[in-house]
Symmetry: C2
Subunit: 330 residues, 2 copies
């Protein structure tokens, strides 16, 4: 590797999560598909909020959660995402920095408010997200500092960032800089509806040079439009250096060339809220990868980090992950 200042730079939509417990009837009434992420406009945000019960606000955002996870594991973590200079923006900035993440992205001074996602948690601990992108639409290529990307061993981006146009452009710029500096580009597909929205562009982007891909079973099957996980795995194996396919309580599969590593999930935990499971899996794997650990070790760290975050409300670690990993893996 080159001179690196950060083990990972994560780029994503900077969002404050607004978590509320609901029953399944509420999803039916509001025409929401469980476990999906829905983009909503400001009017729908106000409408939905007025119908929701009391809530808890916690900093979130998929790549933000991953950045917090990487920092909690003890690695050098940087985050790029756009909030507005308002109260929720200040909360987001405080929280990500307080976990030890470097966060320098300039806040927007006008326009839409800091993004929020209404995370509706059903009694089965599953979450259905409704995201108002707000200030995230202001993120653009100017927010990508070439020196920082070139100095990051891995630049990791969330598929959700493809929704705002500026995010997509920032995404492409960062990938180009990363590769030119001989660093790694990593992508998470984020959500099967997100894959539906951008399938062709994602395939082109992956073929054009994603080194480490994260996807869950639904997302990878949607990407390659197949009902067979085996078929999807066979395809993706040839497309990227490493692919991590997560399967909830079934664990995950890590692919690298002809190598296949199966990782078990910890089923002993009491699941409170699945929000952030994929984000923390990515954090754990990228931590292991950048520290030169094997695929199996990196997968094990990923599983422990994911299990920690679903054992409580909120999508960022509540425990110090470095200590947790040390106690679990020695």
């Amino acid at each position: 590797m080159n001179n690196t200042r950060f083990d990972t730079t994560c780029i994503g939509n900077a969002i404050v999560d607004v978590l509320s417990r609901i029953d399944d009837d509420f999803l039916t009434q509001e025409n929401l598909v469980k476990n999906s992420m829905n983009l909503i406009d400001e009017a729908r945000a106000e409408d939905l909020y007025s119908k929701m019960g009391s809530a808890v606000e916690i900093s979130g955002g998929s790549a933000g959660n991953t950045a917090a996870g990487v920092a909690s594991l003890g690695a050098r973590s940087n985050y790029i995402g756009k909030v507005r200079n308002d109260q929720l923006g200040a909360i987001f900035a405080h929280d990500i920095r307080a976990t030890g993440v470097n966060f320098e992205t300039k806040m927007s001074e006008q326009g839409a408010a800091t993004a929020r996602s209404f995370v509706l948690i059903t009694p089965d601990a599953h979450r259905t997200m409704n995201t108002y992108l707000g200030a995230c639409i202001e993120l653009g290529p100017d927010d990508i500092d070439p020196e920082i990307i070139a100095a990051s061993a891995v630049t990791y981006m969330e598929g959700y960032l493809w929704d705002p146009d500026g995010g997509k452009a920032a995404f492409r710029k960062a990938a180009k800089i990363s590769h030119e500096a001989d660093q790694r580009v990593s992508l998470t597909l984020s959500d099967s509806f997100c894959v539906d929205r951008f399938r062709d562009e994602f395939i082109e982007f992956i073929d054009g040079g994603v080194d480490i891909l994260f996807a869950n079973e639904d997302e990878i099957k949607s990407l390659y439009q197949t009902d067979s996980l085996e078929v999807a795995i066979d395809i993706v194996r040839d497309k990227v250096e490493i692919a991590c396919v997560t399967r909830s309580s079934e664990g995950s599969v890590i692919l690298q060339g002809d190598t296949t590593v199966e990782v078990t999930a910890d089923r002993s935990i009491d699941v409170e809220d699945t929000t952030g499971a994929g984000d923390l899996y990515a954090a754990g794997f990228l931590y292991g990868f950048t520290k030169g650990r094997s695929l199996a070790e990196s997968g094990a760290i990923a599983s422990i980090a994911a299990a920690e975050v679903i054992s409580h409300i909120g999508a960022r670690p509540a425990e110090n992950l470095k200590d947790l990993i040390a106690s679990r893996m020695g």
Copy 2:
């Protein structure tokens, strides 16, 4: 009772809690006394926030928590408190209304931001509060609607409200209207430091006509400047119609004339965060009282409500208290 529209109206400082886990060293470094409530100015708020770890935002405020508890128990609950028309103010207003509380207080359009309290939770689940009163200082007598107070069976006020001058005036106005309408006035002493600040005024106010007083052991001993709980109890017994003295895990003592009812606390619960214990005790007792339940029954409801709120993070009920009471008491 007269024509009542609300079983209780709770008046207090409208605050968003910012909860963060810390270790005991942090309290030492910051010169903070565990379990105390400290008033801080804006500069100190910024300083302390910059030193704190990542946090969770939840609507709070002592009397706000009580109002939410009363509504969750199924009674008619009204709240009076001042937020600013900003993001945290919108969160506060949403959350208290979403629990079924009537909340009509006009938001301030300028001046200080919505109040927040940094609630620092140590590993022993105790909480030390640092409150920036912000927009709460704008609450005044004009926010007290005589018709609503006259139509509330109990008007309950937190001692903390004595800190801002306008709050004190609102407090006195509400008490006068309540008594003139032949309704009950209730007060919680809130905090032993608060009692220290206003001892003489509190004694005068209580003697002048508090019907139902809530205090914990430290507060009632501080009020009457005695080291003996027995002495304090003997004094307060003659001063108010009903006094509830809470003693954490030792349960509580309810006094009415010559009657003394001892209430046990549920020690089987796993305590996560003691924030809101006193607030929910008051909610449970006032619910029982306004529904004509006996002192012992009201005390039992109070204990169940308090136990629920300390079993999780946050100072408002996570479960529907009406259902919980039904399942526990039949």
